[in-house]
Symmetry: C2
Subunit: 500 residues, 2 copies
Amino acid sequence: MDSKQFRECGKAVIDMLADYYDNIRNRNVLPSLDPGYLIKSAPENAPEQPEEWENVLKDFSETVMPGLTHWQSPQFHAYYPTGGSYASTVGSLLCDGIAVMGFTWIASPACTELEVITMNWLGKLLGLPEEFLNCSAGPGGGIIQGSASEATLVGLLAAKDKMIRRLLENDPDADEDLLKTKFVAYTSDQCNSSVEKAGVLGSMKMRLLKSDSNCKLRGETLKKAFEEDKAQGLIPCYVIANVGTTGTCAYDPLYELGPVCKEENVWLHVDAAYAGAACVCLEYRHIIKGVEFADSFDVNVHKWLLVNFDCSAMWVKDSYDLINAFDVQRIYLDDVKSEVRVPDYRHWQMPLGRRFRSLKLWTVLKMYGAEGLRSHIRNHISLAQHFVKLVRADERFVVEPEPTMGLVCFRLKNGDKLTKQLLENLTAAKEVFMVACTYRSRYVIRFVICSRFTTKEDIEVSWNIIAREANRLVCPSVIGKSQSISTIDFETVSICEKSK
Amino acid sequence: MDSKQFRECGKAVIDMLADYYDNIRNRNVLPSLDPGYLIKSAPENAPEQPEEWENVLKDFSETVMPGLTHWQSPQFHAYYPTGGSYASTVGSLLCDGIAVMGFTWIASPACTELEVITMNWLGKLLGLPEEFLNCSAGPGGGIIQGSASEATLVGLLAAKDKMIRRLLENDPDADEDLLKTKFVAYTSDQCNSSVEKAGVLGSMKMRLLKSDSNCKLRGETLKKAFEEDKAQGLIPCYVIANVGTTGTCAYDPLYELGPVCKEENVWLHVDAAYAGAACVCLEYRHIIKGVEFADSFDVNVHKWLLVNFDCSAMWVKDSYDLINAFDVQRIYLDDVKSEVRVPDYRHWQMPLGRRFRSLKLWTVLKMYGAEGLRSHIRNHISLAQHFVKLVRADERFVVEPEPTMGLVCFRLKNGDKLTKQLLENLTAAKEVFMVACTYRSRYVIRFVICSRFTTKEDIEVSWNIIAREANRLVCPSVIGKSQSISTIDFETVSICEKSK
């Protein structure tokens, strides 16, 4: 493909994407196909000769597109959002287009420097304490990691290294390997799988402590766990606080966990992957009250701040903790020497390679502006509240726990089995996509506002589909008492449907 | 930005990129600025209100572009290439544009399935044994990781987990933590920094064994190291063979290392980050002779196969080794049940999140075809050979070691100090970018063919610049004896320059 063909093909793709979003409501959010649909039909070998770009795009439309789950559809309410916006796509396109690497300053100066700038901007927008910012006098700063998983693991490894150094300072003859086997990490039983996985990957025991009835990990619980473990000769090393759990978007109180960690010199990492984004609005900053106790803080800009995956923004109070843990020097990799504080980001992360990811953060921050991001957050939260009203108006349902941010958890009053059946039927119908979690041992359905296109009308469309499927399981009652229907009792179902 | 504006802006960026490449020879490969150039001049805060896209693109051209090191320039000869092509940019644009995630099959079926397909295609193109492929009957398969760093670490963690399981099977009462402290990883002293870092990150002692005079790690050396360590009660666990070292592109003989590993049940990982790509051509496959002994194999498609970073293709013989090491289950993450073997890739990698990275591999494989990729490799190698001829025709220089693939190492005969000075002067002149390495304790300059645009004429341009700077340091001699000139002896330099 030469530059002339690229101009044609690239522009065709731009139009294809714009058309896709202009018409996204015409598609079911979930695809209708069985596992192996593409594997079974694909050619066994790559083509020997080049194919025309027109054919490749046609192939994309005909074979790949039908196999997508449409995360940007207004009827996508599963997991948490994955970011996407035209502004971000433009930034990504610039990044991929120029195809530079940024593992050292000289490898592409703008790549390092724009990351410093945008991470300062974003840190300020979120109201992070100054110590976390590159523009402060201290050794703090922000870096873009690939995912919250990576940030949690980076924090764990840095915490391990820092603790070892501290212990060896006190007792230079101690057995480093033996000490490491005694380190313990702590988080709540509500943590994301990636948090637990960080313990597996980083070879550190991880205790999933019992959260309270509101799914929060409390200071007292942590303190008790520290004491139990110390009594057994173990060494508390790393705590991951969840600000916005994956299940119910609960917030661990940093102002309780922080002082406990501080007393024991334990690294406190804040995983605010989804909810942290809301801190761009002053009125939601209370969720990170106590963040000044944290050693590291992570928010997935690629979740709720309109930037495409991957862009996980991580700040640390002391970047030397990362450098000490990760620095492996080579003759062909020069550190930068400078009066201005310019980080060598490769020492702040696990891999050597670095894309110019700050470009998409930059285009989003500039093309939306701070106000645009705040509007986006507030709009999603108000849409969630609209959904709550719709659910609460239907007496067959319970909304619980109390909804927060863009997440609403709900269930049928008539029990877990029916709620589960409802979700299965909805998934089978392909029109709305949600996933489940457990809350106080009950099976609840999670409804998340995900798409940037979602309107009040879209929420009503989703709700009507949910209510329609509920009608097949539970009779809508006029007098306030719902009646459960067996899912295979088709006669009753049809009666029930007629009675509408 | 609405879809109408995106159509305009996106197309403007496409043209901007095509213009960039059409005129890339007009730019110096290295930027002329000091560390902090952008940080110092950037606004302190993100804008409150949205900026027009036209202004953002203008800002990009005026502030970011001057801060780039142009990796796709024909005068970029540093490190190893980072992939880039119009075909790949189209694939990336589709991936970012549709903005789906692929951590489970249902999260976007095409995302998982196209990865299976393209990794089968690529594995076949490289001539990997069938056991490594998803389409074989066994548990092998390929996955796209973010970088060779990540692949090396994934291999290490899987090796550790597998070894622990094996040891506990033999002795269920053994102390797992204690066993882990005895594990040792091995690689050569020529390994990339990322290999050494994997040991740091994965908490495993790593021995950098002495390579032979051709920079290869030999089977005998490895065997001896195993024996030494076992005698001390340590447990050999993981070996990383380098196929194409970063310094001089040396190949560790897999056919020697493999049997040694096999005898001790030690995991053999092959880091073929750069050179592995050449296996698309039958005539270069000898470099992976013995690959059938490997447990995992990695090649950075984003280096030499025209795909943009990040796309590191990793194959394993037994995917259950990864799943056993990495599986952390959750209610909201369903594994796929299917007759066709469809992997749950999130258990094959460290993070949970997954982009649709196979799209760019797919567009490259289709738009270039196998023949296109082979031509690209052969063209780069023949350009390197042309450069060798030019250097060898100048008696002031030595080419060593014997060049291989797209890498040529060379030095001035007159000593390391002058060679180093030459590289410094060339870097200061900004027209050609190369980095150094050491070979047999000598300082040598690495010249790598990187850009897909490079022609024979471009090589001559680069060489002429090198020769010009050499003339300022060492007189070109007519009678075959070079004369060294002190770099500060400007009088002699000018005499020397006049004598040309």
